[in-house]
């Protein structure tokens, strides 16, 4: 069960992105970016196994659900998986802020690339505000998602908090 837990949790998030939440038009980029963030988080958690292939397939499913071009969110999820694989693993006592900074850079990169690909796809400049807003929101949500995933992994939050804030506890 532990082996498929990351993929299952991201799969759940993919379906959650497709559900009609009634969010305003400017907030439409947030939910799929949460999927990419979850992929990134699972890759930085030691012992968790979410392969790039699984990440890409989950991104592909996001594409199918969203009705957008196939390959877009697959590419974003793959970038998240690659960045997560190369980022420092979250070990006990490590400061989470550093990882947060890394996700900030990845989110900005993904948003910028997404905007560029979308503009190339339609051969016109896409409105950048919803994408920037989504990236900023995902950066703000990073600790919440990371805590959530640690809770999923451990079944309870306390050890996760020690992992994140061990330096001060």
């Amino acid at each position: 069960m532990n082996a498929i837990l990351p993929a299952l949790s991201v799969l759940f998030a993919v379906f959650a992105t497709a559900v009609p939440w009634g969010l305003p038009a400017d907030a439409t980029f947030i939910l799929p970016l949460v999927v990419v963030m979850m992929v990134f988080c699972w890759r930085v958690l030691p012992g968790a196994d979410l392969s790039p292939i699984a990440a890409m397939l989950l991104g592909l499913l996001t594409d199918v659900m969203s009705g957008g071009p196939l390959g877009f969110w697959a590419l974003m999820a793959l970038i998240g998986a690659t960045a997560g694989g190369r980022a420092p693993k979250l070990i006990d006592g490590q400061d989470m802020n550093r990882l947060w900074l890394v996700w900030g850079a990845v989110a900005c990169g993904v948003a910028g690339l997404g905007w560029l690909i979308a503009s190339l796809y339609f051969l016109r400049w896409i409105d950048w505000w919803p994408i920037a807003f989504g990236a900023l929101a995902s950066i703000a949500l990073f600790p919440v998602v990371l805590h959530g995933l640690l809770w999923i992994r451990r079944g309870r939050l306390k050890p996760g908090l020690r992992m994140l804030y061990g330096r001060w506890t």
Partner: protein, 341 residues
């Protein structure tokens, strides 16, 4: 000088032929290929997507049910909060509507008299079917929604989709049990419209924002904020006279604010409006099953599909609806009112 450490791991000096790197490269390449195939609209990509969406439809429908219930509960709470103000507003509106009702009856009589003098041919009844939104599109590409009505219900590509407030969009994909609706504010949406009492012709284009742009307005056209915008029907795809929205903005940058709240759609109706223009968007794969001249009832596969029931039979406008799809709790008169305008 001390070197600052990067938060990223030092990249191992591995050959790109290493299995992991090669796999990553292949996956990135695959994504790029899929994007290109999607851009050119390859049939295989479209078919695979439709197939997956059809397969996942029951799951999406089940997942969206509690969310929709939550939204309804939230809306109810909001309405309770502003109940007294709402009652006052409705009373004032009711007084206005009584006056409009009297005027409408008067005009109806005049129109009927003039039509009889001209021996005008009555317009054919417009059929529709009602369903609910089960998924939203998220991302920079599309503003679309997935509804729980498909080819089994007679829905085809190109049909207009409305809700109680006005036009919502049109169907762009139709699977067996679900269809994808391209919303008015999508980047690819172009709707020929008539604006204001003078009926100025223009094109309402989506740009992924909440409002639509008004393009190709004739020089010197006199528009005012608040003017009604409705479909012209000149594209041969959408029926004429569907409410779209009202004019907003200022001269030189007029926009259309849609009547329908496109970001929180719930129950929608699909209008069965068959025209020859649909042949370009919905080529018949099976001449019998997808015949353009066939009525929606005839589109049901006679062997595999069951006989039309109250839930999936298209309902002519003006006739009472007992139950329509998953939207049995919604009055069909909303759709009727829209379609008849």
């Amino acid at each position: 000088m001390r070197r600052r450490s990067s938060p990223f791991k030092p990249r191992p000096r591995r050959s790109w032929r290493a299995p992991g790197e090669l796999l990553n490269f292949t996956l990135y390449f695959l994504c790029a290929v899929l994007l290109v195939l999607s851009r050119i609209g390859h049939n295989a990509v479209v078919d695979v997507r439709d197939h997956f969406v059809d397969l996942s439809a029951p799951l999406l429908e089940a997942a969206s049910a509690p969310v929709i219930m939550g939204r309804h509960a939230l809306a109810r709470v909001r309405s309770y909060v502003g109940l007294l103000d709402e009652i006052d507003r409705l009373k004032a509106e009711n007084e206005q509507l009584k006056q409009w009702e009297w005027r409408a009856k008067l005009l109806e009589g005049n129109v009927a008299h003039l039509r009889s003098l001209l021996s005008a041919v009555d317009e054919p009844a417009l059929h529709f079917i009602t369903g609910s939104v089960i998924a939203d599109a998220r991302g920079p590409f599309l503003r679309s929604a997935l509804i729980n009505l498909g080819r089994d219900n007679g829905v085809r590509v190109g049909y207009a989709v409305i809700n109680g407030d006005g036009l919502v969009g049109r169907t762009v994909d139709a699977g067996a049990s679900v269809s994808r609706v391209l919303l008015l504010n999508d980047l690819n949406s172009r709707i020929p419209v008539l604006v204001g009492p003078a009926g100025v012709r223009a094109l309402a284009s989506g740009d992924n924002s909440a409002e639509l742009k008004l393009d190709f307005l004739p020089d010197g056209a006199s528009l005012y904020p608040g003017d009604e915008v409705y479909t012209s029907g000149s594209d041969g795809v959408l029926p004429r006279g569907l409410r779209v929205g009202t004019v907003s903005g200022s001269p030189g940058a007029f926009k259309v604010r849609p009547h329908a709240e496109l970001s929180s759609l719930d129950v929608v109706s699909v209008l069965f409006f068959d025209t020859p223009a649909l042949t370009s968007t919905d080529p018949p794969a099976d001449p019998v099953e997808r015949s353009l001249s066939a009525m929606p009832e005839d589109l049901q596969a006679p062997e595999s599909a069951s006989a039309p029931t109250a839930a999936n039979e298209p309902v002519p406008i003006g006739e009472p609806v007992t139950q329509t799809g998953a939207a049995g709790d919604v009055s069909p008169s909303e759709g009727v009112a829209q379609a008849q305008q």
